[in-house]
Symmetry: C2
Subunit: 320 residues, 2 copies
């Protein structure tokens, strides 16, 4: 089965070797009190403490470090205004090559500054998906830069899988592993590595109800466009990629969708009880446990907390 | 020298054995980016992730677990509305004995509920120090309950020292160790253990400028009452205890005081960069580094992050 998939366990193992020393081996945390509330024994993989504050550092470093010197010298390009833009800028700076980051002209000033601080060259475009993709393609053609897609690039997927690899390596046998799905890069890498390392593990995806294209695609057996995503989990407002669809169709055991209220409640609970800062996307699998959307009573499960980049001036449980 | 002090390294080593399994061995975290900002290499001991969200769990468990069965059966009593009240309630519940917690009648509802949730019996008194102490003494006399002072009790000081013991044990030789001073329990335990384990280490206390009685006492060589404390660091609004004064006078190398603005800035910086939730008291030694109040350029230092109990609805960098 998994030998037919676009990303193999070997690809992820190679990624782990490639990115070692460039990204953090993040801590795994546990909480007795949260276990009591969630009714299961949870090991949290803290990618919020990863470089640039999100797991995206893994995939971006893998893609940049895998380039041969000639290709690397021409740089990399992507379209993103989120964590992938910061991650690719950092990875390119580490290798001493240019990173061209296409952003909509209305991107928040803070995100533009953050990418520039990391050495990325921001190129503005009109705020449409077509304009973004066209400009990224144009830069790739003109400069010979390598396009590194935020979630459907195979090296990116392999890099994201290293988080689950570290988790399973550290905590041993688990009954289940949970992560959120946006474009599907993290969930795909997680699924490949988990199925290989612990064949009997339950692989559970999670998504906001209000951005459930991956859930509906998985149910239907074909990629469906959802309604326009309208979720507080800003990292998950993307559509499932084509490679992600192939991998998740083959490997997922279960898929939970959660309400916006549950996401905010789970996020706040993690801050209060675990004393860590997570972004709304990270709270999605926790919300699935909190709402008992998956039956894991008494089970040992791993949850990947994907990132911790939030605006501390405007928290989702505060009005206004 | 340290053999004349009220608490010895042996007392702390015994505390470590006594409380093992009852409190968490908390993680030590590092941050490349924060090191760059602070100009030193820092190992952060995360007592914000301790049970009840603060190092106070250590001292309270040591005091409760050290009681003989007859004394234990009569319970423990303290006056506190903060982390020590929660810690003593938890420790008493673990041992199955009553904890009487004297609180001012105007204590915030959330703190009263938190103590009750942990099994503490709340006794209200008039909101003055005299009334608090009188009621605690009365309960001790009537019930035969043991008074466990929040910071000047010798078993409490010994218990608090176990945090630094774990830190030094884990990270090896350091140039300096920093912690904040409120009543002096944590700083005293830290100083005793650090001087014993690494005799050449610089032991550095820190305090808000607006609650600097310990700093002025240390300078003067006698315990001085300060102005009424007026700091956002609510855990440090207490006066240095008498045992704490003796220990700190003997062992401190340096003492930094910091502004309120620096405390808030340091707190926010730790949330943003390290993705962990710390309370203002925890930010005080970080503020001392941030403001370069102590010369630690290029040094390796340990910082004890004391707790993470904050009101998430009202953060200090938010107006109103």
């Amino acid at each position: 089965m998994s030998q037919d998939l676009p990303v193999s366990f070997t690809d992820i193992a190679l990624a782990a070797v490639r990115i070692e020393g460039h990204v953090h081996h993040t801590p795994v945390l546990r909480s007795r009190r949260l276990d009591a509330i969630l009714g299961a024994e949870i090991a949290f993989k803290c990618e919020n403490m990863q470089r640039i504050g999100a797991f995206k550092a893994r995939g971006a470093h893998n893609a940049v470090l895998a380039l041969d010197d000639a290709a690397a010298a021409r740089g990399v390009v992507t379209h993103s205004s989120g964590n992938h833009a910061a991650a690719l800028s950092l990875a390119a700076a580490t290798r001493g090559i240019p990173a061209f980051i296409v952003m909509p002209e209305n991107a928040p000033r803070a995100k533009v500054e953050s990418v520039r601080r990391l050495g990325g060259e921001v190129q503005f475009c009109a705020p449409t998906i077509t304009a973004r993709e066209a400009m990224a393609d144009a830069i790739a053609a003109e400069r010979g830069a390598t396009l590194v897609h935020p979630y459907d690039d195979l090296l990116v997927i392999a890099g994201q899988g290293t988080a689950a690899m570290e988790l399973l390596d550290e905590v041993g046998p688990l009954d289940a592993i949970l992560a959120p799905v946006g474009g599907g890069g993290l969930m795909s890498g997680t699924a490949v590595v988990a199925r290989h390392m612990q064949p009997a593990i339950r692989i559970i995806a999670s998504e906001p109800e209000q951005a459930d294209d991956a859930f509906r695609s998985w149910q239907a057996g074909e990629r469906l466009a959802g309604d326009p995503p309208n979720t507080i989990a800003d990292g998950l407002r993307t559509m499932l990629g084509s490679n992600g669809f192939t991998i998740l169709t083959a490997l997922l055991d279960d898929f939970a969708t959660v309400s916006e209220a549950a996401i905010v409640e789970a996020m706040r609970l993690v801050w209060e009880v675990m004393k860590i800062v997570i972004e709304p996307s990270s709270a999605v699998p926790v919300a699935a446990l909190l709402e008992r959307k998956v039956d894991l009573k008494g089970a040992r499960a791993g949850v990947i907390l994907t990132g911790g980049n939030v605006d501390l001036d405007q928290l989702p449980w505060q009005a206004g």
